[in-house]
C-alpha cells in the first residue's frame, strides 16, 4: 500500500498525531546528538585526565590504558566511536568504578533517582495544582493566604537548605522518618519533599494565576450566565485553560527535579544517578558522565514531548495548526 494513500485516508486527528510523532522523533534525535557532541567535547576540554591520581600510573601502564579506551585517537574519531557504540546501546565502561559498566551503574542508580524524582513530581503536582486552583477559586480566602505562604517559602528556600531542615525536624526531633538512605518506601518522603518543594511553589503560582486569568474570561461569564454549577464551571470550563501554563512548566519542572537530585541525593545519602554526575565530573569519568547526561536529555525530551502531546490533547486549537 502506498503510504501517501494511507495518510490521505486518515482522519485529520490521526494525521496530526502521526506528523506530531514523526517531527518529535526527528527533533529528539537532533537534540540528543547536539547534547552528546557538546558534552563529549566539553568534558574532554577540561584539564586533567581520568587516570591521574595521587599516585601516577607508570607511563607504560598509562599508555596501555589509554589505548584500550582509545584516548589517544584524534578526538573526532573518539566521538565517532562513542556514537557507534551508543547506537549499539553500549555506553562503555566506567573509568572510576572500573568493575562496572555505565549500564550497570545506571541500572543500579536509576531506580532510586527515578523513585524520588517521580515522587517529587507527584508531590509538586498533587499538592500544587489543587491548592493553586482552590486559592484562585476562593481568592483572598484562608486557603489563598496559606497557598501564598507556601509559594513564597517554596521559592525562597533552596533544596540544599530545605533538605537538612527536613532531616532535623522530621527525623531528628519528631523521629517520623529516617535521616537518610533508601531502604523502605517511607524513606522517599523527605527527599521527595525537598526535591518537589520548588516545583510545587511554581506550579501553585502558575495554577493560581492561570485560574484567575481564566476566571475573568468571557466564556466563564457566559458559563455562569448559562446557570451552570460553580463546580462544573471550575473544573470543566476553567481548568483546561488554567492548567496550560502548568503543563508548559512540566518540562522545566522535570529539568529542575533532575538537577535538584544532584544535591538532594547527597543530602539524604541516596546512591542515585545524580551523584554519578557530580563524582563522574570530578573524576573525569567521561563515559559515566556522558551516559547519565544523555539519559537525562532523553528523559527531558520525552517529558517535553509528552507535555506537548497533553497540550495538544487538551487544546483543540493546537491540533489544527
Amino acid at each position: 500500500m502506498d503510504p501517501a494513500r494511507i495518510i490521505g485516508k486518515m482522519t485529520p486527528a490521526a494525521r496530526f498525531w502521526i506528523r506530531f510523532a514523526a517531527r518529535r522523533a526527528a527533533r529528539a534525535l537532533i537534540v540528543i546528538f547536539i547534547v552528546a557532541a557538546a558534552s563529549f567535547f566539553l568534558l574532554r576540554a577540561a584539564p586533567g585526565g581520568p587516570f591521574s591520581g595521587d599516585r601516577a600510573l607508570p607511563p607504560s601502564i598509562l599508555r596501555i590504558v589509554e589505548e584500550r579506551y582509545r584516548l589517544n585517537d584524534p578526538i573526532y574519531l573518539q566521538f565517532f566511536h562513542y556514537l557507534q557504540n551508543l547506537l549499539r546501546g553500549d555506553l562503555g565502561p566506567s573509568f572510576r568504578n572500573a568493575d562496572f559498566t555505565v549500564q550497570d551503574l545506571i541500572a543500579i542508580g536509576l531506580p532510586k533517582t527515578a523513585a524520588i524524582g517521580a515522587c517529587a513530581l507527584l508531590f509538586a503536582i498533587g499538592i500544587g495544582l489543587p491548592l493553586g486552583v482552590a486559592a484562585a477559586a476562593r481568592r483572598s480566602g484562608a486557603i489563598d493566604r496559606i497557598a501564598g505562604g507556601i509559594a513564597v517559602a517554596g521559592l525562597a528556600v533552596p533544596n540544599f537548605v530545605l533538605g537538612p531542615f527536613l532531616v532535623m525536624f522530621f527525623s531528628l526531633i519528631l523521629h517520623w522518618f529516617e535521616p537518610g538512605g533508601l531502604e523502605a518506601p517511607a524513606d522517599l518522603v523527605l527527599p521527595a519533599v525537598a526535591l518537589g518543594m520548588g516545583p510545587l511553589a511554581v506550579i501553585l503560582r502558575l495554577a493560581r494565576a492561570g485560574m484567575l486569568d481564566v476566571l475573568s474570561l468571557d466564556y466563564i461569564q457566559f458559563a455562569r450566565a448559562k446557570g451552570l454549577r460553580e463546580r462544573t464551571i471550575l473544573f470543566r470550563h476553567a481548568l483546561p485553560g488554567a492548567i496550560s501554563p502548568v503543563l508548559t512548566y512540566l518540562g522545566p519542572a522535570c529539568a529542575a527535579i533532575l538537577a535538584g537530585s544532584l544535591v538532594v541525593e547527597s543530602i539524604f545519602s541516596i546512591p542515585g544517578i545524580g551523584g554519578y554526575v557530580v563524582r563522574g565530573a570530578a573524576n573525569r569519568d567521561y563515559p559515566l558522565v556522558m551516559g547519565v547526561v544523555l539519559l537525562g536529555t532523553a528523559f527531558l525530551v520525552i517529558m517535553n514531548t509528552i507535555v506537548d502531546a497533553l497540550y495538544a490533547a487538551i487544546d483543540p486549537r493546537i491540533r489544527r495548526s
Partner: protein
C-alpha cells in the same frame, strides 16, 4: 560564629537521630572507608580504601601482623630464603577458596603472571620487578616461562630474584600479590556480584552497591575461620569525610579510617581519637625548571625559611612531627634505616643563600605561585608557608588553589608556577617506597629534578645483596635530596587519625606505621570471648 553554633546543634541532633536506627547485630563491624574503591581486582587496586577491603577479601602468602604491620605466615605456612636471599621457597598450608577449590601454588604463579601481563595494566606492576625476568616479560622482551616463579607441586612456590629483595615478604601480604581465583578474569560481575565472587580471605563479598557500601560476610572455608569472630562487615564508602564523622557520632559506624585534620581539635582528649605515626610525608615540590627555583640555593633558602615546628604546633595539633628529611622518622622503628635530616629552620642562613643566588633581601625575585589542590587543611598550611617566606625571604607568593585533577595535570606537565603541595604514603615499610618517586623517570617526580648520581644510587641499592649496605646506599641518596639538591622540601610527617569506638571494638585493632587494620583480628564487644 552563629553558623558554627547552628551546625553544632544540627550535628547533635544528627547523632541523636542516628541512634534510632535498628542496631546491627553485635557481630557486625561497620566502618567508613576512605573512599569508593575503584576496583576490587587486586591487580588494579591502588588506594588505601581498596587495600583495606582486599585485606579482608583475599589473603596472600604472608599477612600483616596487626600490631607491627610486619609480615607473618599466612597461606604460606613457612618460607625459606635460599641462595643468599636470591631464592624464596614458600610452603603453602592446606587451604581453600570460598567455593571449596584448593588454593594451589599455581594459583599464585598465574595470578602474579597476570599482574605482569601488559594487558592487565596493573598500576603497581613494578612491585614485582625484582622477580627474575618479570620486567622483561612485562615489557615484552622475554617469554612467560622465563619469569622466575615456579610451582613444582601444588603446595610449593619458588620465586627467584636477580638480587635479594628485602621488601618481598611484606609485598606478598597485599595487592597486587594476593591470589585471584582462575575464574576472576573470565567471569562477568566477578567483583560486583556476591554470587560470582570467589576469594580466599577471611571474608567474602555479600553486597556491592557502588558509592554506598560493600558488605562482606565471614568466609566459612577460610583456613583460620575459627579465629575470626566478626560475622559481617559493612564498609561505607562515603565521599564526604564530614558525613563519615557525623555517622560515627551517631553510632552508625565503629571506625572511621582517616578524617579531616581540621576537625581534630574537637576530638582531642577523647578516647575515640586514635593518632599514630604514619609512614607518610607532607612536602612541597619545586618546579626546578622555573626561575627562581632552577637555582638550588634558592630552594635551600626556602627549605631553611620554613618554621615547621610552628606549623605542627599551630595548625596540625595532632602530634605531627616536623620533617626535614623525606623518609619519615618512624621508618626507623620498622627497619634498620637511619633517617637523614636536612638543615633546620635558619632564616639568617636562608637570607645569605638567597643573596648568594643573586637576590639580596629578596630583591629581584619574581613573584611565585604556590599551587595546591582544594582542601581546607592544605589551605591553612600553604598560607602559613606563604607568610613565613614573605617574612623571612621577602618572597612574594600567590596561593593558587585548583581542583584536584587540574592540580595533578599541572604537576605532571610541570605547569605550576614554582611551588606545589604534595604528599606521599608508603606502600611498604622500606625507604625505597619514598626515595623511588624522585627518580628521574618516575611519573611521581613532577619537579623536573633529574640527577644521575641519585638514580645510580637507587639502582645500586636495588642490586645490593647486603641489607646493611643497601640501606646505606639509600641514605646517600636521601642526603642528595634533603642536604644538597632540594627538589622538594619536606614539611611534616603525618599521623594517621582514626576514630574508633572503643566500646564496640574491644580488641585486635592496633596502630601501626602503615595504618592498616586487618579486620580478621578485630574483636567486637560481646562477639566471641
Amino acid at each position: 560564629m552563629a553558623a558554627v553554633r547552628f551546625l553544632c546543634i544540627l550535628l547533635a541532633f544528627a547523632a541523636a537521630a542516628a541512634c534510632r536506627r535498628a542496631p546491627d547485630a553485635a557481630s557486625t563491624l561497620r566502618f567508613h572507608n576512605m573512599s569508593e574503591p575503584r576496583t576490587l581486582d587486586p591487580a588494579g587496586a591502588i588506594s588505601v580504601a581498596e587495600k583495606n577491603l582486599l585485606l579482608a577479601l583475599c589473603e596472600g602468602l604472608t599477612s600483616l601482623d596487626p600490631r607491627t604491620a610486619r609480615p607473618v605466615p599466612a597461606v604460606a605456612s613457612r618460607y625459606t630464603a635460599l641462595d643468599g636471599g636470591r631464592t624464596l621457597q614458600f610452603d603453602l598450608r592446606e587451604c581453600r577458596w570460598s567455593n571449596g577449590d584448593p588454593v594451589t601454588a599455581s594459583n599464585f604463579r598465574d595470578s602474579w603472571l597476570r599482574v605482569l601481563e601488559p594487558a592487565t595494566a596493573s598500576p603497581l606492576v613494578n612491585l614485582l620487578f625484582s622477580i627474575r625476568g618479570a620486567r622483561a616479560f612485562h615489557e615484552g622482551r622475554a617469554p612467560r616461562d622465563q619469569v622466575g616463579i615456579a610451582a613444582p607441586d601444588t603446595r610449593t612456590l619458588i620465586v627467584r630474584f636477580d638480587h635479594p629483595d628485602p621488601r618481598f615478604l611484606q609485598l606478598c601480604a597485599s595487592s597486587p600479590l594476593v591470589p585471584v581465583h582462575p575464574r576472576a578474569a573470565a567471569t562477568a560481575g566477578f567483583y560486583t556480584r556476591a554470587e560470582a565472587f570467589i576469594g580466599n580471605g577471611p571474608f567474602v563479598l555479600a553486597e556491592r552497591t557502588p558509592n554506598l557500601r560493600i558488605v562482606m560476610i565471614k568466609n566459612r572455608s577460610y583456613w583460620d575461620a575459627s579465629n575470626v569472630t566478626i560475622e559481617k562487615i559493612v564498609a561505607w564508602s562515603t565521599d564526604s569525610k564530614q558525613a563519615a564523622v557525623d555517622a560515627f557520632r551517631g553510632g552508625q559506624s565503629d571506625w572511621v579510617d582517616d578524617f579531616p585534620a581540621g576537625q581534630a581539635s574537637s576530638w582531642l582528649g577523647s578516647a575515640e581519637l586514635s593518632t599514630s605515626p604514619y609512614l607518610a610525608t607532607f612536602f612541597v615540590r619545586f618546579n626546578t625548571h622555573k626561575k627562581p627555583f632552577d637555582d638550588r640555593r634558592v630552594r635551600e633558602a626556602v627549605h631553611r625559611a620554613i618554621d615547621r615546628a610552628a606549623i605542627c604546633r599551630g595548625i596540625l595539633k595532632l602530634g605531627q612531627r616536623p620533617a626535614t628529611g623525606f623518609v619519615p622518622a618512624c621508618m626507623e622503628t620498622v627497619s634498620d634505616y637511619h633517617c637523614i635530616s636536612g638543615p633546620d629552620f635558619d632564616p639568617v642562613r636562608a637570607r645569605e643563600l638567597l643573596a648568594e643566588a643573586g637576590y639580596p633581601d629578596g630583591s629581584g625575585l619574581p613573584p611565585v605561585e604556590f599551587q595546591y589542590d582544594t582542601n581546607e587543611d592544605y589551605k591553612k598550611i600553604c598560607e602559613a608557608i606563604q607568610a613565613m617566606l614573605r617574612e623571612n625571604l621577602n618572597m612574594r607568593i600567590y596561593l593558587i588553589n585548583k581542583e584536584k585533577k587540574v592540580h595533578l595535570d599541572d604537576e605532571e606537565n610541570l605547569r605550576y608556577g614554582g611551588l606545589s603541595r604534595g604528599s606521599w604514603i608508603a606502600d611498604y615499610m622500606d625507604p625505597m617506597t619514598f626515595l623511588e618517586i624522585l627518580a628521574g623517570d618516575s611519573p611521581d617526580n613532577r619537579t623536573g629534578f633529574q640527577c644521575k648520581e641519585y638514580d645510580e644510587l637507587l639502582e645500586r641499592a636495588r642490586a645490593e645483596g647486603d641489607p646493611k649496605a643497601r640501606l646505606e646506599t639509600l641514605q646517600k641518596a636521601e642526603e642528595i635530596l634533603v642536604r644538597r639538591e632540594f627538589p622538594i622540601t619536606p614539611i611534616y610527617e603525618y599521623v594517621k587519625q582514626t576514630l574508633v569506638d572503643r566500646k564496640r571494638i574491644v580488641g585486635g585493632f592496633y596502630e601501626n606505621p602503615l595504618g592498616v587494620h586487618p579486620m580478621k583480628w578485630i574483636r567486637l564487644a560481646s562477639s566471641g570471648k
